[in-house]
Amino acid sequence: MSTLSDRISGLFFMAMGLAMYFWVNPNYIETVEGGNLSPSTLPNIISIILASAGAFVAIKPTTHRLRNPVLMAKTGLYVALLTGGIWAMSWFGFEYVAPVLALAIMWLIGERRPLWLGLGVVAMPALIWFLVTQLLGRALP
């Protein structure tokens, strides 16, 4: 299992390096006439290094142990929640979304104590609002 994680990541970086070199860099970097250093020179060199080092890791993996896949899946849930939070903020603003987001996170962690929930859901967003909009005079997202 421990060598498998390095093989997977090594192959990923190898594929990424190759994709960058053969497809992404030629298509997404403008070519320029003249100059000492072409815009694609460094990305191309990096892509080759990335692919070579990735292949090396895949061929000669270390004994690094991957994090528990169940925990990684759980992290995916939190990422989805935060993505939703950002999307909602773009529509409704921080003031309305932050308390809901804080409540969802605290609930998912397992917090059920009303005092701590109140602090996290009401007091903390209110404090941030006061700090940013009143003290610093800046806009919230």
């Binding site: 970086f13 390096g17 992404v24 997404y28 403008e30 992290t75 804080a102």
Partner: protein, 500 residues
């Protein structure tokens, strides 16, 4: 280069009540969050940087210096009381601090950590103030060829010293460089790898990348491990004996050589890019134990062990600024964050900093000295309070930290696009850490990338593409040879490590 009046003016700027208030606030915040396992000074700084926008550069930097220094003291509290270091470099502190706390002397252990931390920190600050200006003068004599060689040297050290395999270190550095190449090409100013998103034309914002990878990815990891069992409050039992609650002068003085050794190790290692404070703490601890007449007492509550670890890990902080201020090379993640704060406030780290903004640099030095005294004072008063902080539930800490990161990055990058980038890099950082790739190398390579490319382009322009010109620069040649030697040395060291 910097005249005496500039130095005096800089220190005069720093020693004002206004700046003292910001240092004080920073130290309190740093000690507070440093005491929370999993947060630490790096995350605190990452979150705090965007909130310094509205401030003048000096109070802003003074505040961040306070956060950084306070965090190191705070990090020792959970290490001593829970055997759970608030910061990785406090892990060595836990080896003797926790047994001492279990003996009913938690305050003696935390106070010894405080005193030795401030001692080590002050030592390295004095070294920083003394050597950085002369080093900057030397650095100013470097041309683009030498700068490019220096960048290569910095990369060779970083890739070798951090991470458990050279190949993985190379991947982290290459990935960081690749991320840095998004945006304008530094020579031709054409868009590069922006995929139609013109918000990326100026490149990925450092606050988005740094906060995403360092703060949010760690919070995501900690969130996934929480199972609804909130952290219990810590009850460090006290013997009731007043002598067990304080560190006497005799006890402090008995550790003077230990602290001097620790501070020297921390200062030397801190001045080299890439060597973290954790290595300094463990090296100092090991040397103190090896040189002790009673090595068997180490790990059982010996205050010499606490003094060795804390003096070394704190000494790294000041010394880390030596390569940053003189060469513009961040030696650690903390230094990379300080660099981003400098840039937000219009300071460009590097040898020209002393010439262009000498007064501000000496103001920073003044703030650092001030922060040491404030750290001592706040620590004396606050240690009992931080013990309670350790028992705050993760639920409120992490939800609040996430909201602060959202707001902070939004302010730093002018909108939710930066927040989205932050989340993307949080996921990348989480996956990289899960698969054993160094985030530190990534961040530093990301920062150095544009400077590296620019110096290469300038070198090529200067030499008309003739790379043999490098042979005519002894400094560049020496740096390139050093780069090769360090890579070979690290490869050998790595191979030996694998064999063992």
């Amino acid at each position: 280069m910097v005249d005496f009046s500039t130095i005096l003016a800089g220190f005069g700027d720093a020693f004002s009540l206004f700046n003292l208030a910001f240092v004080l606030f920073g130290v309190i915040l740093g000690q507070f969050v440093g005491a929370v396992p999993g947060i630490g000074p790096i995350m605190a700084m990452a979150i705090a940087i965007p909130f310094t926008f509205g401030l003048d550069p000096l109070p802003a930097i003074a505040f961040l210096v306070g956060v950084n220094k306070g965090g190191l003291v705070g990090g020792a509290v959970p290490a001593v009381l829970m055997n759970t270091p608030g910061t990785p470099d406090a892990a060595a502190t836990a080896m003797d601090g926790y047994p001492l706390a279990k003996q009913g002397k938690p305050l003696k252990a935390t106070k010894m950590a405080l005193f030795s931390s401030v001692t080590g920190d002050t030592f390295s600050d004095i070294v920083l103030i003394t050597v950085s200006a002369p080093l900057a003068i030397l650095a100013l004599k470097m041309g683009p060829i030498e700068v490019a060689a220096l960048m290569i040297f910095a990369f060779s050290i970083l890739a070798g010293l951090i991470g458990n395999s050279i190949a993985k270190g190379v991947i982290s550095a290459a990935f960081g460089l690749l991320a840095a190449s998004i945006g304008q090409d530094p020579e031709n100013f054409t868009p590069r790898l922006i995929f139609g998103y013109w918000d990326l034309f100026d490149g990925l914002a450092l606050p988005s990348v740094a906060i995403g990878m360092l703060a949010i990815s760690e919070i995501l990891h900690r969130l996934s491990e929480a199972h609804g069992n909130m952290r219990p409050a810590i009850n460090a039992k006290d013997t009731g004996n007043p002598d067990d609650r304080r560190v006497t002068w005799a006890e402090y003085w008995s550790c003077r050589y230990t602290m001097l050794r620790g501070a020297s190790i921390g200062t030397v290692l801190g001045a080299l890019p890439g060597i973290g404070s954790t290595a300094a703490a463990f090296m100092s601890y090991a040397m103190t134990k090896a040189g002790s007449k009673d090595p068997g007492s180490f790990g059982k509550g010996n205050i010499q062990g606490i003094a060795a670890s804390e003096s070394a890990n704190s000494a790294v902080v000041g010394a880390n600024l030596i390569p940053l201020l003189t060469l513009g090379i961040p030696g650690s993640v903390g230094a990379a964050l300080i660099i981003s704060a400098f840039m937000i406030h219009g300071m460009q780290p590097g040898p020209l900093l002393f010439e262009n903004q000498g007064r501000l640099v000496y103001g920073l030095f003044g703030a650092m000295i001030m922060a040491n005294f404030v750290n001592l004072w706040v620590g004396q008063l606050g240690l009992r309070l931080w013990v309670r902080v350790v028992s705050a539930p993760e639920s409120i800490i992490f939800s609040s930290a996430l909201l602060l990161c959202f707001v902070g990055v939004s302010m730093a990058t002018s909108g939710l696009f930066g927040v989205t980038i932050m989340l993307i890099f949080a996921v990348i950082g989480y996956l990289m850490a899960s698969f054993g790739y160094s985030l530190v190398i990534f961040i530093i390579a990301f920062f150095l990338g544009p400077r590296f490319e620019k110096s290469i382009a300038q070198s090529l322009a200067l030499t008309n593409g003739d790379l043999t010109q490098v042979l005519k620069s002894p400094v560049a040649l020496a740096l390139l040879v050093l780069s090769v030697v360090s890579v070979v040395w690290f490869l050998r060291k790595n191979t030996e490590g694998e064999d063992e």
